[in-house]
């Protein structure tokens, strides 16, 4: 996916760069819009979970060039793990969220070790097949309650102080987790580690010849992406108070690809915008059944044929800035 990516490295010491200015605006808008109630807060929280999921996915495709077609397994696994921990073991929300992310990271290690053995299209097919295997496991396992899912997950008190059953408290907790994770991803991308990932994306044999163990870097990126996708899944289970098979299905893996594609592959803000666009479209089209699927397909085709940069990628290209 080299064509769509932006490779500009922000100049150090130039004050606040564009990316950080946009971050400040994004944080301010999200913090202000929730309490006003102009937009249904539950919608924003849901979209934020998907935005984090999409950012985690974009870390792989945008900066390592690996197209995972099985990321739903991380979203679903963390959802089940955190919901089970909160409901059956009765742990505090901060523990259940971390437990969910850790479960996904562990799954990321196992699946990553297999998937990075092949490249390109094979990598996509392997991640898809592994995710389908995990899906069937959850379909049959007892603790997931099959088609019903884990329902009525208690939200509890975070750190014993923040009562998450109050909608606005939950809103700001979700927003804070999202913003921190977003900054973490930004930091990863712009770290020396991130630069090596980009080098592997651009020319793997050359990176290897320079002495970098490409497979270890790819695995590390895969596990990071899995853990962050897991964070999104655990957060989503907390917000929606349930964990279900939908989150682990291949359609979800396709949806996150679509979010990132619409927003802009390899851009930093693309996944966030893409997630809001796709989730809004789903809400809007929810009443008309399977047309959502058709609409998603049409957007896929249109993006691939005519709009490969995505919304943010196109804006960044026009304005000649990195976003």
């Amino acid at each position: 996916m080299t064509g769509a990516a932006i490779t500009t490295i922000p100049a150090p010491g130039a004050g606040l760069n564009t990316e950080m200015k946009v971050f400040a605006v994004m944080a301010a808008v999200l913090a202000l819009i929730g309490p006003t109630g102009i937009v249904y807060p539950y919608f924003i929280m849901q979209a934020l979970c998907f935005a984090l999921f999409a950012c985690a996915f974009n870390l792989l495709i945008g900066f390592v060039g690996l197209l995972s077609f099985g990321h739903a397994m991380f979203l679903g696994t963390a959802g089940y793990a955190s919901a089970h921990a909160a409901k059956v073991w009765g742990v505090a929300p901060e523990v259940s969220i971390l437990f969910g992310a850790a479960a996904s990271a562990l799954l990321g290690v196992l699946t990553g070790l297999l998937a990075i053995r092949r490249q390109g299209i094979y990598f996509s097919m392997i991640t898809l097949a592994l995710a389908q295997m995990i899906y069937f496991f959850y379909l049959q396992a007892k603790f997931t309650h099959g088609e019903d899912g884990i329902q009525g997950v208690p939200q509890g008190k975070m750190f014993g102080l923040l009562d998450l059953t109050r909608p606005m408290t939950l809103y700001f907790v979700v927003l804070a987790v999202f913003l921190l994770a977003f900054l973490l991803i930004y930091r990863i991308i712009n770290s020396p580690f991130g630069e090596i990932l980009k080098a592997i994306r651009e020319n793997e044999p050359r990176a290897i010849s320079l002495g970098y163990k490409a497979d270890q870097y790819k695995l590390a990126a895969f596990v990071l992406s899995a853990a962050l996708a897991g964070l999104a899944g655990a957060l989503k289970a907390l917000v929606a108070q349930n964990a279900s098979l939908t989150d682990a299905h291949w359609k979800m893996s396709g949806e996150v690809v679509l979010m990132v594609l619409v927003g802009g592959l390899g851009t930093i803000y693309g996944p966030v915008l893409g997630a809001f666009v796709i989730i809004a479209m789903q809400q809007y089209l929810a009443g008309i059944g399977q047309w959502v699927l058709v609409a998603q397909g049409v957007i896929f085709v249109a993006c691939v044929l005519a709009f490969r940069r995505g919304i943010v990628g196109e804006i960044a290209h026009r304005l000649r800035v990195a976003l």
């Binding site: 053995r117 058709v294 397909g297 896929f300």
Partner: protein
């Protein structure tokens, strides 16, 4: 483990062989398309489903029965595939291979969504042709004629495809164009047309599998969605380098799945994926694959 009747064992093996026929036909189509276009055709499952629907429409609208469908459905769907290749896939030449995967995934969503809108998720019955009803008593089991036909016919189609690609002059052009398209073009062979025809042929194979499946599995909008993922795993296991490899792997994995249904039914959904994981550990290029 040993109290399983031979009757159950053989009937599950037969089911496995039938599924194996579909895996072989579909993975063969994927391999042929991948060889020429460097695209993994995610829409393959949806096109298989549309092949079955094509047979259903031929019967309900035009009154044309199974034997007509067996010929016409692959031709119609093949033409539709060529249309897709000319209008869309063609434009992705030279881009990263992953865009082909994304485009065909989008197409799969459109097709599946459209058919689900109009036909829901339930199945439409499609009768077994009269000539193939009934069954043979083999002594240890009853062999339904239609199922025997599906296995034999798919195997014949697979072997014919293998022969055409590996042993004929046209196949030689095809293999040459896979290796070095610009050189083959310099010899005066119309490579773009060959690419279009190849895609149409691969889609035709998927449609043929769909027609064969219609009397067994009913005609359902969702029949291809999950199947294609298993076929992807089959392709990873076999490796896409060899035509014979995809045929053998397809049938073999169908059999393994059938055996799993007898001895450990809980794992029958996942056994192909587990085998894929094991093969990746031992031989990452796939059983018949060439290391890149």
């Amino acid at each position: 483990m040993f109290n399983i009747s031979t009757q159950a064992l053989f009937s599950q093996l037969l089911v496995g062989l039938i599924n194996g026929s579909f895996y072989a036909l579909l993975s063969l189509g994927l391999a042929v398309i991948f060889g020429m276009l460097n695209i993994i055709n995610f829409a393959h499952g949806a096109l298989y489903m549309m092949g079955a629907f094509c047979a259903y429409f031929l019967l309900s609208i035009a009154g044309l029965g199974y034997w007509w469908a067996l010929v016409l459905s692959p031709l119609i769907m093949g033409a539709f595939g060529m249309f897709l290749e000319r209008t869309m896939l063609h434009r992705l030449a030279g881009l990263d291979h992953l865009y082909g995967l994304l485009l065909t995934f989008g197409l799969a969503l459109i097709f599946q969504g459209l058919f689900q809108n109009y036909f829901g998720s339930s199945g439409l019955p499609y009768a077994i042709p009269q000539e193939l009803t009934g069954a043979q008593n083999l002594g240890f089991m009853f062999l339904p004629n239609y199922r025997a036909w599906v296995v034999v016919f798919s195997l014949a189609v697979c072997l014919a495809t293998w022969f055409a690609i590996e042993k004929t002059k046209l196949g030689a052009y095809l293999r040459a164009a896979t290796e070095n398209p610009s050189l083959v073009r310099a010899f005066g062979v119309n490579v773009p047309r060959m690419i279009t025809l190849t895609y149409g042929f691969g889609v035709g194979l998927a449609a043929l599998a769909g027609v064969l499946a219609a009397p067994i599995n009913q005609v359902r909008p969702l029949m291809g969605g999950d199947l294609i993922i298993v076929v992807f795993a089959v392709v990873v296991i076999g490796g896409m380098g060899s035509i014979m490899g995809s045929i053998v792997t397809g049938f073999a994995l169908g059999l393994v799945e059938g055996l799993t249904k007898v001895f450990y039914p809980e794992a029958s959904n996942t056994v192909v994926f587990v085998i894929m994981a094991l093969v990746l550990l031992v031989k990452p290029a796939g059983l018949f694959g060439r290391t890149a």
